[in-house]
């Protein structure tokens, strides 16, 4: 009976087989195609276009021409380096604040929230249901001169200290560095909490028990086991916060003053108001290079070759 079965099934011919395997080999490329096309059109092409803009000279009336004028980079950097430094400082501070605020919260959601876990996660991303702009405008009200928050900070003499440090001015918060950093921190906090939560949640609770069984107090357990194992979340959280924050201009625009301009504000005004496209493009590339460099050093230092 088995022999008849074999006879009934025609042997698969060689060319058919080859065709099948060719098709199978092409499948990954077909799957990659949409993404590659997207990146080409919306990432690679604009990059090339901007790169060429950055080495052009001319004016809006006479038109721009590629003259390989690399001096724009140096001129732009010389003129706007304070805004660069400020951007990195504000973004760095906001990232640190996000980490300090976000870690305990992520820890709580991952280990202690029990059945409230999902609700808390929804609350973390709830601000995203409102537009970025509206949220930042709301902070304008929160930090307004006669607002509850500012009154409370005044009464507690917190503003005396922050003014002395140069973060605020007199009894005002709005239009000061603190307002910008507060806005950045608020807006990017979920980007810190979510990766932290994901990596904390993945930690096997039995490792905590094992550490405690091996004479580690809860504090040591955190230092030697929990925190090192959450490093992937710390790294991706800080990157997801720092990179967009360093290029942000909305917070500085709405909550800051002329003294708190970040490089994003400069780029925006060069592009849209001054219409000096080459300088704007050069600034963008400098920012990109600086951030890339910092991120590379950071990832090297954090020693997380298996995470990013």
């Amino acid at each position: 009976m088995s022999t008849t079965l074999v006879k009934e099934t025609p042997p698969i011919e060689e060319p058919v087989l080859r065709k099948l395997s060719t098709r199978r080999r092409l499948v990954p490329y077909w799957l990659l195609l949409p993404g590659i096309v997207w990146l080409l059109v919306f990432f690679a092409l604009p990059m090339v276009y901007q790169a060429s803009t950055s080495v052009q000279t001319g004016s809006l009336e006479q038109g721009f021409e590629v003259t390989w004028h690399f001096a724009t980079y140096w001129d732009a950097f010389q003129e706007y380096w304070p805004q660069f430094v400020r951007s990195l400082l504000y973004a760095g501070t906001a990232t640190l604040l996000c980490l300090l605020l976000g870690y305990p919260l992520a820890y709580l959601i991952a280990f202690k929230a029990g059945r409230w876990r999902n609700l808390l996660l929804v609350l973390v991303i709830a601000p995203f249901f409102t537009s970025f702009l509206i949220r930042t405008l709301a902070w304008k009200t929160i930090l307004a001169d006669d607002s509850l928050v500012v009154d409370a900070l005044n009464t507690l003499h917190v503003l005396d200290v922050t003014s002395w440090l140069g973060w605020t001015e007199g009894d005002r918060v709005l239009a000061t560095p603190m307002a910008v950093v507060a806005g950045l921190t608020y807006n990017f906090l979920p980007f810190m909490i979510l990766p932290l939560y994901t990596s904390l949640e993945r930690i096997d609770g039995r490792l905590h028990e094992a550490a405690q069984d091996l004479y580690a107090s809860p504090a040591t357990t955190f230092r030697k086991v929990t925190f090192p194992l959450s490093m992937p979340g710390v790294v991706s959280g800080t990157l997801l916060t720092f990179i967009p924050a360093s290029g942000d201009y909305v917070n500085a625009e709405l909550l800051g003053s002329t003294d708190t301009k970040m490089v994003g504000n400069v780029i925006q005004s060069q592009f849209l108001r001054v219409l000096d496209y080459p300088t704007a493009a050069a600034l963008s590339f400098i920012l990109m290079a600086v951030v890339l460099l910092m991120v590379t050093v950071y990832i090297r230092r954090a020693g997380t070759e298996d995470l990013v």
């Binding site: 039995r206 490792l207 028990e209 405690q212 069984d213 091996l214 004479y215 090192p228």
Partner: protein, 394 residues
């Protein structure tokens, strides 16, 4: 560490004593009030099916679980309120729980470092040698096989010279052959270091091969405590009789007491030594008569005359037989009880003993035990809900 070894050495009074400890979760009682003394230096097994409270009991000794009532003593010291990191007790976890971000060396050194010991290298190297992982010292746990990870877990706990080493189903994830090998290995290490081992397992064979003392747990209670041979030969409850090996339990009526107890079952008469009855028997009462399958001899009904006088006899018909190699296992139906198990050594095989044959089962009455008839006949068998030998989901 040295002072610790000194006072946990052989000073006596290093027993683990559980006094009235219990654990309830809401309305569920995982462990009923329990008194247990684990002698210093012994290899002690807590044996039972999943959900019987054995792991909870172990975790209460480790301090990972707070007892609802009762006290845990290590030696004379009340450690009930000590957090786990202050107890001179270490655990080998079921899933090993090795630290994935540390290499083998650091995993093993973890406990020493936490206690502020500066030069850990000699000790760690020695321990790595003891568990034969020399060339793996700088690998991460995920690069090792299950058996190697298990040895790391043992080394990581043992290096601290704990007063008690707790093992929570440490061999559960290993395949059978490796398991047997690790059983011998653990037993060897225990004999070598002389530390009290408390081993939780659902595998009765594992408990019997390794432990000096076994506590059989069921439904949050200790059913019986004793040396493996004693538990096997003298089960006090039907659960123990069925959970440890196999028992033939026959419902019988007591005819006569005094000296040997004479009972009838399915028309035949059986003798049970009086001292082997767990409950008071009286004429006319019921009793469960038990005998282990390997104690029974099987004789063809035609040769029934050759059976020596004074032996317990039951007649029956072979329902099934399976040849195991060293022995043949028969299932015999008889008026006294259905599906009686008989294990015959294959020394001189009687080729007439095939299914359908009329046979006589006979054994020395001294091998018979009597159990309280008020219990379920099936407690502790594989089909019994309370005694599934299924592992907890890891």
């Amino acid at each position: 560490m040295t002072d610790k070894t000194a006072h946990t050495g052989n000073t006596g009074g290093g027993d683990v004593r559980l006094s009235g400890i219990s654990k309830t979760y809401g309305s569920f009682t995982a462990v009923h009030p329990l008194d247990l003394t684990i002698p210093q230096g012994s290899f002690f097994a807590l044996l039972g099916a999943s959900g019987c409270g054995k792991t909870t009991t172990l975790r209460m000794i480790a301090g990972l679980e707070d007892p609802t009532t009762g006290t845990v003593f290590l030696g004379d010291r009340d450690v009930t309120d000590l957090p786990p990191y202050k107890r001179p007790v270490n655990t080998v976890f079921q899933s090993y729980a090795l630290f994935p971000h540390m290499d083998i060396f650091e995993n093993i050194a973890f406990g020493l470092r936490r206690r502020g010991i500066k030069s850990v290298k000699p000790q760690v190297d020695e321990m790595i040698e003891l568990v034969q992982l020399g060339e793996h010292a700088h690998k991460k746990p995920h690069q090792l096989s299950g058996g190697q990870q298990q040895r790391v877990a043992v080394a990581r706990a043992l290096i601290n010279h704990p007063q008690v080493l707790l093992l929570d189903e440490p061999l559960g994830a290993l395949d059978l052959k490796l398991r047997r090998q690790m059983q011998l290995e653990l037993k060897r290490i225990q004999t070598e270091v002389g530390i009290t081992f408390v081993h939780v397992t659902h595998d009765q064979e594992e408990a019997m091969t390794m432990a000096d003392q076994v506590a059989v747990m069921n439904g949050g209670r200790v059913e019986q405590l004793g040396a493996p041979a004693d538990l096997y030969e003298n089960p006090q409850t039907t659960f123990v009789a069925n959970f440890l090996g196999t028992s033939n339990l026959i419902e019988a009526e007591v005819v006569e007491t005094g000296g040997d107890v004479l009972v009838t079952a399915g028309g035949g008469k059986l003798r049970v030594p009086g001292e082997r009855c767990t409950s008071a028997v009286r004429a006319g009462g019921k009793v469960l008569v038990g005998v282990r399958p390997e104690k029974i001899s099987l004789t063809h009904a035609d040769d029934a005359d050759e059976i020596a006088a004074g032996r317990n006899r039951v007649t029956g018909r072979i329902a099934d037989s399976s040849f195991i190699g060293v022995s043949t296992q028969y299932v015999v139906n008889s008026p006294a009880g259905a599906e009686l198990q008989v294990y015959e050594q294959n020394i001189e095989r009687d080729s007439r003993l095939v299914p359908g044959t009329e046979v006589v089962l006979h054994w020395n009455p001294a091998h018979t035990f009597g159990l309280d008839a008020a219990q379920s006949l099936l407690a502790g068998t594989v089909g019994d809900a309370g005694a599934e030998t299924v592992e907890d989901a890891a």
